[in-house]
Amino acid sequence: MRACGQAMSNYLIPPGTRDILPDEMRELRALSTVLLETFLRFGYGEVWTPTMEYEDVLVRGDERAAGVSYRLFDEHGHVLALRPDMTIPIARLVSSRYGKADPPFRLCYLSHAYRAVRPQRGQQREFLQAGVELIGVDAPEGTVEVLEVLCAALDAAGLTRARIGLGDAGLYRGLLETVGVAEAPRSKALEALERHDFVALDAEIRRLDLDPAKLDVLISLPQLRGGAEVIERAIALGGEDTKSATARLRETAEGIERRGIAGRVIFDLGLVRDLGYYSGAIFEVYDPALGHVIGAGGRYDDLLGRFGRPLPACGFALFVERVHVAQAEEERR
């Protein structure tokens, strides 16, 4: 059944929100079920948290409140906010509900989250996320387990061509520090990298008073991406300086190799994510049928501590509607 014809009366819904009709809903439901079943099979328990939280609580998780876009007052004048993702609510949940229980905690969710949109970009204010959080298992074991669940979820969704970009949130900053770049030029270089502007990054680095070999490392390293061999190439390029910066990534690479999912992963030494709570491994999910990322995640070892329960943690979220688009595009091939 297709919705069609001239609308009798057309009452608008806010841009970036959608009505979902039965044909689409049937497929979205099937996809969501397949993803959740995968998470459950790996021993992750499904949780549900309120759509709105106290703004203070969300800001405690990410002081820049980067994602919080929609706020309202309750009847007492407290500021409530729609959650921009599920990671912070789950960090809160673990510290409040599992304060005395022994880690690790394996939790998963299928939930809507809310972000601001830029007009006419096809972005969604309300979008569905399916994801897991593994709390209380350190890197690299925790990271590798989460990546394994992610690979299984992509397989379950039929996206066998999808790949995971894996980087490290502190890698380039660490390298700049090791090489001895001062605070001001360091943040300029990091800003250029966050904008994905390699032309500006090149210019910022060349402005530094360093010997040419080190300049070369700083320019080339964030452009390295590919199989695990790029980590070796980075070390060949920069020796001890890059050895320490890539140490964590190397441990993860070994774990991935052991679990047999190395073919799924693209190591990306220039990868950056814009959420403030990430530390260590970060990832993005790509499918060749789609120009946008279909999922993202990483380690957030310092986040739980902000809620009084310091525990290492790692997780990912798949953007269910985008995964659905990728599925449809893959079927058209």
């Binding site: 390699f198 032309v199 590919g226 693209i266 790509y286 499918d287 060749p288 120009g291 946008h292």
Partner: protein, 211 residues
């Protein structure tokens, strides 16, 4: 993964030099140089798609093309588009400038007395950001056609526009007061293609760099 890379080619002032660059890379551009009305040209290594420079970031961000060539002026104006900026191609040199009427410094005076300057431009976001970052107030008026007309006719006190030689400005009685940015042609890539087609894209970047 063997489909050819899709590359957006800018029509207009960057067109000829972009085709020269492709020739230097042994990409066949004869069909683009002919009088064809076609917009899409399939080849072995690349599928070439011609479009307005200001559309390039839109197509690249969405992944409708893997790579594109456009001016830095376009990228500055559409800063919020998530594309990877890979290379400064060096050609298409020009400047984004603030210009007012020649030998007429009343714009400064007006800005001081009225607290704001009226600026006509095709680059409203670039112009607004430029004045905001300097703590100056500007009333930015977006126009689509010849911007030079605005200060002559009294619509605005000055303009923010792109100039290569400054000739159009001079011929319309305008002169450059401030340089907002230096612009050249850039190679940009889609975020997903940059990861999934890394080898081909890196090889292309290297060949252009070695040219």
């Amino acid at each position: 993964m063997s489909e050819p890379l899709r590359l957006a080619i800018p029509q207009g002032s960057l067109f000829e030099e972009t085709l020269d660059l492709l020739d230097a890379l042994d990409v066949d551009t004869s069909r683009l140089r002919s009088d064809s009305r076609a917009l899409l040209f399939a080849g072995d290594a690349f599928t070439l798609v011609t479009m307005r420079p200001s559309d390039v970031p839109t197509y690249v961000e969405a992944g409708a093309v893997d790579l594109g060539i456009t001016g830095k002026d376009v990228l500055i104006e559409q800063q919020e588009r998530l594309v990877y900026e890979l290379l400064d191609l060096g050609y298409g040199q020009c400047r984004m400038v603030v210009a007012t009427r020649t030998a007429d410094h009343s714009a400064d005076d007006l800005e001081r007395r009225l607290g704001a300057i009226r600026i006509a431009t095709k680059y409203p976001r670039t112009a607004s950001r430029y004045f905001e970052e300097r703590g100056r107030q500007a009333e930015v008026i977006e126009v689509k056609g010849s911007v030079e007309l605005a200060p002559i006719s009294g619509l605005a006190d000055g303009i923010v526009d792109l100039t290569a030689t400054g000739r159009t400005l001079r011929e319309n009685g305008l002169e450059i007061r401030e340089v907002v940015a230096n612009c050249t042609a850039r190679l940009v890539a889609n975020r997903v293609a940059h990861k999934l087609r890394q080898e081909e894209i890196d090889a292309l970047v290297e060949r252009i760099g070695a040219r």
